[in-house]
């Protein structure tokens, strides 16, 4: 079945205040931002007779703003606009890279960061990066504002901790220490427009003497939600990146993820490729200049 346009009750507030009001009065409505997730369901005829709250006209939550301690990306900022932003490119290059692999240009021009996060797909490509940058999700409703650590935002597949009639307002990315070696890697069936089999992001700080000061490593598509490799990160801290230590970190990777077999890949392949990515990231760290 197709979407039947006449069956939709459509709300299109022009400001954040009006949107919160409308959402408060209609908590059963579906929020529409760029529509690149929602409209797929609509086209399949799954959303007939629903209320839709189109937030795409709200100016206040679109665009990137520089803060003292980082940048603030409005929920409605499209992936294409994030990539073009000078502050993002300079301070958070992994975000730029992640946004550049979300679908093709058509999807990047329309799809928003807020929509990507709220959709809570296990394969959201921006998630590992936001996890290692330790982003903060800012939420807003008629009742007021609150903030959640990025890792605390997700509850499960397609499930978030958003309360009824609450919107994502923005995502705050705090500056991290300079001199990190960094990694973003998406593994899909084609170079573009493919849902990830695994998607990885890493930041690594190594001291003058070669010991690891800090590792942050996150994986998507490897569990119901994005995962930080808590065990491996803890293990490698303070160690030199010798072969045995790297191998042990790769072995520990398994403890923090739980990938599945599905149409895109198998559990085994996902584990193997993720370990390979972690291994090469840690091994090469000795030889590469830190940017």
């Amino acid at each position: 079945m197709r979407g039947a346009p006449d069956s939709i009750y459509f709300l299109q507030p022009s400001s954040l205040e009006k949107a919160l009001q409308a959402y408060g009065e209609n908590p059963d409505s579906l929020v529409l931002a760029g529509g690149t997730d929602l409209m797929v369901a609509w086209n399949a005829g799954l959303l007939n007779n629903k209320k839709v709250l189109d937030i795409s006209l709200i100016r206040e939550i679109r665009g990137v703003r520089a803060l003292k301690k980082g940048v603030l990306i409005g929920a409605l900022t499209a992936h294409a606009d994030i990539q073009r932003n000078a502050a993002v490119r300079r301070h958070f290059p992994l975000i730029q890279t992640a946004c550049s692999v979300v679908g093709g240009l058509q999807i990047q021009n329309k799809g928003t960061l807020g929509g990507n996060i709220a959709n809570a797909s296990p394969a959201g490509d921006t998630f590992p990066v936001l996890a290692v940058y330790e982003a903060i999700v800012r939420l807003i409703s008629r009742q007021g504002r609150r903030a959640l650590a990025f890792m605390d935002f997700f509850e499960g597949v397609k499930k978030t901790r958003l309360l009824p009639a609450e919107l994502i307002e923005s995502v705050e990315i705090p500056y991290s220490r300079k001199g990190a070696r960094r990694l973003f890697r998406k593994v899909g069936t084609r170079a573009a427009q493919a849902i990830s089999k695994t998607v990885a992001a890493g930041l690594l700080w190594v001291g003058q003497d070669g010991t690891v000061e800090e590792l942050r490593f996150a994986l998507g598509s490897m569990a119901s939600t994005v995962r930080r490799l808590v065990k491996a990160e803890k293990f490698i801290k303070g160690k030199k990146l010798h072969r045995d230590a790297v191998e042990e970190a790769c072995r520990l990777l398994k403890d923090d993820v739980d990938p599945i077999d599905d149409v895109r890949s198998t559990r085994e392949y996902r584990l193997q490729i993720s370990q390979n990515i972690l291994r090469s990231f840690l091994s090469e760290a000795n030889y590469y200049e830190n940017p």
Partner: protein, 159 residues
């Protein structure tokens, strides 16, 4: 709902359901049937049109989001009698076979070319990554685009 939009340089006022998809409005209300629907899921790019110059999938846009926007479809390029040079290039280079992907491919390519995109095959392929083609194997399409970019460069040098 009343929505004012510009389609291929013509000002239009749409009156009707806000949740009608842009592709259906183009094809049904304005008889611009050049824009094709392939998948209806955002995957294939056959429905690509330009909104304020940016390529987007018209199958994923409710017309209510298009108030005040400038839309360009494949009909804005050329007509059968007088083809656009990009369309001629597709013909010459074999960039079109069955043709279902072609309107969307042309629009993505035109967005790239008209903004001064480079002739590097890897970058062209990235610009066209949201457009699937089951016939040509892409190489002929990329060649069609490279030809035009190089021609335009030559012209601007001699000007």
């Amino acid at each position: 709902m009343r929505i004012k939009l510009t389609i291929n340089k013509k000002k239009r006022v749409y009156e009707g359901a806000p949740f009608k998809r842009l592709i259906d409005v183009l094809r049904e209300n304005y008889e611009l049937t050049g824009t094709k629907e392939g998948c209806g899921e955002g995957e294939c790019g056959a429905c690509t049109v330009l909104v304020d110059g940016d390529p987007v999938n018209s199958c994923l846009i409710p017309v209510a989001q298009m108030n005040g926007r400038r839309i360009e479809t494949v009909e804005s390029l050329g007509t059968p009698k007088s083809l656009h040079r990009l369309q001629e290039s597709f013909l010459r280079e074999g960039g079109a076979q069955c043709g279902i992907c072609t309107p969307g491919m042309l629009m993505s390519a035109w967005a790239w070319i008209s903004r001064g995109g480079s002739a590097r095959p890897s970058e062209i392929r990235r610009a066209l990554a949201g457009n699937l083609c089951r016939c040509t194997g892409y190489q002929h399409i990329v060649n069609s685009v490279i030809k035009i970019i190089k021609e335009r460069k030559r012209e601007s040098r001699t000007k």
